[in-house]
Symmetry: C2
Subunit: 246 residues, 2 copies
């Protein structure tokens, strides 16, 4: 079923006001009156709807009639925050799209010493990535639209990441602790931070700082993953480990 | 260390003849005579080398002097063959690049009923993807260059896929067996087939055929992964499960 998101303020007991963009999307799909679609409140609640017969005369607003409500099935039981260092080209687009597909709860971008590219206009960049997150969340059936935010420093990123039950700092110079062992160390976790570096990896002093603050330095094995691949691989692995790939 | 691949026939006990392309790459890197690099034989053996002082006068061939040899560290212990249905645009490029990073042994493309795009010139497509595989194998430190082949039918793809210890057919209509449970069913596996569909998924009769031939129909959970994301997510999950992400 096609899927849309609506703000809670646009949802009443029986009707949902659709955004102009979604209304136009529905028109382009040429849905018949009997065809159903889903409107999600972005907080984990799905409404099965059909197009309401009438529209608001004055405003032209289009409404969906609620037939049934229930929890979104697309939300994993584990809450993963993905911290991605700024990267160049379309790498962030890719990392955001795939992270949303694989169940990331939110995505935070941060600067790191070896970043080859920090966007000049950060709000333009996050707006663009937020749109990608929205489109992906619709397509893959998420119950929330993961929020994309840009942090202004490496230290503030670590400060947030460390709050998770499992704060994982992926560092290619780490040779002892692999991801599998790190996950097995803490079998009961409900929040995870996945912290991955830029194209050239982290500086040693960044890794030291993160560990001193309480993050676990973790290796991803002997192959070197590209900066846009690492968060996606980790998310997939954690979803398997936490029973969310089934 | 920078990494190149050489044909076994170009490797002697003490010297390796570099391809014209690699020689030109080394020139562009301006390596000093003391700087080391790796030449891999593409069969899991790495040679630590330095640039030989002399080059062949007649041919202009450039040689690497072998200092040390040892097994490539970049090969996982489990051999995953990835079967990907033809897909449009750059989705195959992406799927191949990420599959090589995550340790795929080989990648096979196949037609499936809902494929929206099967390339007209298949050998041109596989050549292009083989180049992507080669570049990625160099960058991420693989000991082999995964071979890309195109198969001419869905049935021949199933016929090959079913030979693995764990022949996994990812099917979005499968509701019972998740990936985690499928992996736990067979704890000792050394070969895996990862079989994923095109943009619109598999036809029910394709899934029935694959299961009748002995493949396991497996679900990837409640979120719908894009066709280029599914093989990458599965590879990451299997690498974690088999102890190859550490």
């Amino acid at each position: 079923m096609v899927r849309f998101f609506a703000a809670k303020s646009d949802i009443s007991d029986t009707m949902i006001k659709l955004s102009a963009q979604d209304a136009s999307h529905i028109r382009s799909l040429r849905l018949r009156p009997s065809e159903l679609f889903i409107v999600c409140d972005g907080e984990g609640l799905d409404y099965i709807c059909r197009l309401a017969a009438t529209r608001a005369q004055e405003t032209g607003d289009v409404f969906a009639e609620i037939l049934e409500a229930g929890s979104s099935l697309g939300e994993p039981s584990v809450r993963c925050s993905v911290f991605i260092a700024f990267a160049k080209g379309d790498r962030l687009d890719y990392a955001v799209q795939k992270s949303v597909e694989l169940g990331a709860h939110d995505i935070k971008l941060f600067p790191s010493e070896r970043c080859v590219s920090v966007p000049g206009d950060i709000s333009k960049k996050t707006d663009r990535l937020q749109k990608i997150a929205m489109e992906t969340a619709k397509q893959c059936g998420r119950g929330i639209v993961p929020e994309i935010t840009a942090l202004d420093s490496f230290k503030s990123a670590v400060g947030l990441a460390v709050l998770a039950d499992l704060p994982l700092f992926f560092y290619e110079c780490e040779k002892k602790l692999g991801l599998g062992a790190a996950l097995d160390q803490r079998t009961a976790y409900s929040t995870v931070s996945i912290f991955t570096g830029p194209e050239g990896g982290f500086e040693p002093h960044e890794a030291e700082f993160a560990q001193a603050e309480g993050m676990l330095a973790v290796s991803l094995g002997s192959r070197i993953l590209r900066c846009e691949t690492a968060p996606v691989a980790v998310l997939a692995a954690i979803m398997l480990h936490s029973g969310n790939l089934a």
